[in-house]
């Protein structure tokens, strides 16, 4: 029994965290809001160089052949720095899906590109109305009922949608089966889609943990510094209790997210329940933390001149993506009660 990351995993995480600290400071997030494309190819390339983008791609295709546990700390850091790029879609969802479910020809066609950073992949499962980052993607994996298809981006017609998080890029899309390659169909496709959904949800939960930790850190720094009535506002009991509640939420969501990654990596029989619990707790935590962070910042946090709002809005968006807390709570209820 060892519910912790290895030294190697933590070292890799620290390296990536340092990279984000340098390459994805808040100004970069702000740029991503303002820029028409809002995606920085060089950062993606550097992450590919570091092995992050190919982390889940098998070594045979030039990747690291690592699993969801290895990926988790990386995604948490990506959340912490509000890194605007389709890591969840490409690394957490599509690469494992192609690895597990695609015929050799399709896997060989796309996985090496993912690993070396030249292929950006995104995904749309049933019930997901929008696709992330279609504007920079080369590959779309999409579900239609009990079939999963691979569609080269040039065959996808997309309409931009606008998120409250200006750094996100959402699209509604259309495509024709004539332009698509069948990846897998039937029961196997439904299972693959379910597994893909679980991976997306768990990866998003990991990002929400990082986002939440960062919002707490920003708020602590602010309330220690900000004085009213002649004292730091962080000395008021109401402020203390707000922040203690925030810390409480994150502290008990975090192990649930770890357990989901562990369940995915080890083919747990209860993986659906483990993932739903993770996303439920991480979404709830992020929403509470975001509220407390804004309330304790007061008016300064209510301006877009301050950086806090990047984290608030990313939290809102991710909390309701890949199933919101209520959706996942219902799924757990179903698994517990209707068995």
């Amino acid at each position: 029994m060892q519910f912790a990351f290895t030294e190697d995993q933590l070292l890799f995480r620290d390296t990536v965290a340092e990279f984000f600290a340098n390459e994805c400071p808040p100004e970069k997030v702000r740029w991503s809001w303002d820029d028409a494309v809002g995606r920085d190819a060089s950062t993606w390339a550097a992450l590919a160089e570091m092995g992050v983008i190919g982390l889940t791609v098998p070594e045979a295709f030039g990747g690291m052949g690592m699993n969801e546990i290895d990926l988790l700390p990386i995604l948490t850091e990506a959340g912490r720095y509000a890194y605007p790029a389709p890591l969840v879609e490409t690394v957490a969802v599509v690469a494992p899906l192609l690895t597990e479910s695609a015929p050799a020809a399709i896997a060989e066609k796309w996985l090496p590109g993912i690993a070396d950073g030249s292929v950006i992949a995104t995904v749309q499962l049933d019930d997901q109305p929008f696709v992330n980052d279609m504007h920079i993607a080369n590959l779309l994996i999409a579900q239609r009922g009990d079939q999963l298809f691979a569609i080269p981006a040039e065959h996808v017609r997309s309409t931009p949608q606008v998120s409250v998080d200006g750094a996100r890029r959402l699209f509604s899309i259309e495509w024709d089966e004539a332009d698509a390659e069948l990846v897998v169909s039937g029961e196997a496709a439904l299972q693959a889609a379910n597994r893909a959904f679980d991976r997306g949800a768990a990866a998003t939960a990991a990002q929400l943990i990082g986002l939440s930790e960062q919002m707490i850190a920003m708020t602590v720094a602010y309330v220690v510094d900000r004085k009213q009535f002649g004292v730091p506002i962080g000395s008021f009991q109401a402020v203390k209790h707000h922040l203690a509640d925030a810390e409480l939420k994150v502290s008990f969501a975090r192990p649930a997210v770890w357990a989901a990654a562990y369940g995915l990596a080890n083919g747990s029989a209860d993986v659906d329940r483990e993932v739903s619990m993770a996303k439920c707790f991480a979404s709830d935590a992020a929403e509470v933390v975001a509220r407390k962070a804004l309330q304790n910042h007061g008016a300064i946090g209510y301006t877009t001149e301050h950086d806090l709002h990047f984290w608030l809005k990313r939290s809102w968006a991710l909390a309701s993506s890949w199933g919101d807390a209520a959706w996942h709570r219902r799924r757990v209820a179903h698994l517990l009660l209707d068995a």
């Binding site: 929008f130 998120s163 409250v164 009213q228 008016a299 209510y302 301006t303 001149e305 309701s320």
Partner: protein, 392 residues
Amino acid sequence: MDLTFTPAEEAFRAEAREWLEANVPVGLPSGDTAEGFALHVEWEKKLFEARWSVVSWPEEFGGRGASLWEWLIFEEEYYRVGGPQRVTQNGIFLLAPTIFEFGTDEQKERFLPRMAAADDLWCQGWSEPDAGSDLAGIKSRAARDDERGGWVINGQKTWTTRGAFCNWVFGLFRTDPEAARHSGMTYLLVPLDAPGVTVRGVERLDGDEGFAEVFFDDVFVSDDLVLGGVNEGWGVAMATASSERGLTLRSPGRFCAAADRLVDLWKRQAAAGEYPERIDSLRSDVAQSWMEAEAYRLATLVDVTGLVKGVSQGARSSLTKIYWSELDVKLNETALRLLGPAAELIETSPDAVDGGAWMKGFEFALSGPIYAGTNEIQRNVVAERVLGLPRK
């Protein structure tokens, strides 16, 4: 106990409804951008021309001398037909009651009619960079200028809502730097086109330029712009703040209309037949939000019954402020949960439901627990002044 309106009141309602249904503009953009503001001012001028802009004011100042009950009725009708939030609200709901209470006859005549007509557009100048919740911590100074018969202001105000679009600001300035924290302040009315005033717009959470910083650099204001007594500004400001917490700024009509829209959203989503489980699981939350708005309406009826008899809300206005601000958040949050993954879409997004109004409403609502004294401060007030717990 009688929860019916008189025939005269019902006639007032019918008249208001008829006019509003014919005239309330549809799909006005946010009033917190330069372009939107201009359109809103146009609408408010129309309201004024039909004498609906300040119904509860005496006729001589542009109102109808309506009772508080009639005012409530007007607000209900206004929001029921989808009337937009009033960009003149900080003038007509906050400054005006203060002028009625503390202003000279000359000030009333000079300011109230132009305010009612949306000729003068007023913003608040309370907060400063180091004085938010701690309003008594303000540092902006007004120094006596006997020669010119007035005051010379230096300093800075911040979080001035719609400051970038208004032409007047009211606020507190320190006129006796030697006095204790809550003394030595004076309530001044300042034209924003006065020499030495600089206004810088600040973008709000929802992307609108709804805030402003206002800088004062040797700005002269004459004695006739002092509201209430010199060095007595704190007491005058507290009257304004009480209006801000209490019912004038937030009539139940707005929340009840929003709650009805939430019920309508639920029904539309249910009828569309998508995600039936999500829709179904939010039944109780929709009902709870609707009831909370209704409870606010009922509590207001109690308060107004008291006010009509001359019983003021006093510190209980802090309960009101906590309640409506948290209700507003919850109501919009419930709508966003109904929308699921579409919740994050905003106004400019083609697939946004109801033009992104719920996310906009949520973002706007989040300011409620912060402004007009944070809800933490209000809870202190309730504990100390309603329940009698010790200050220290």
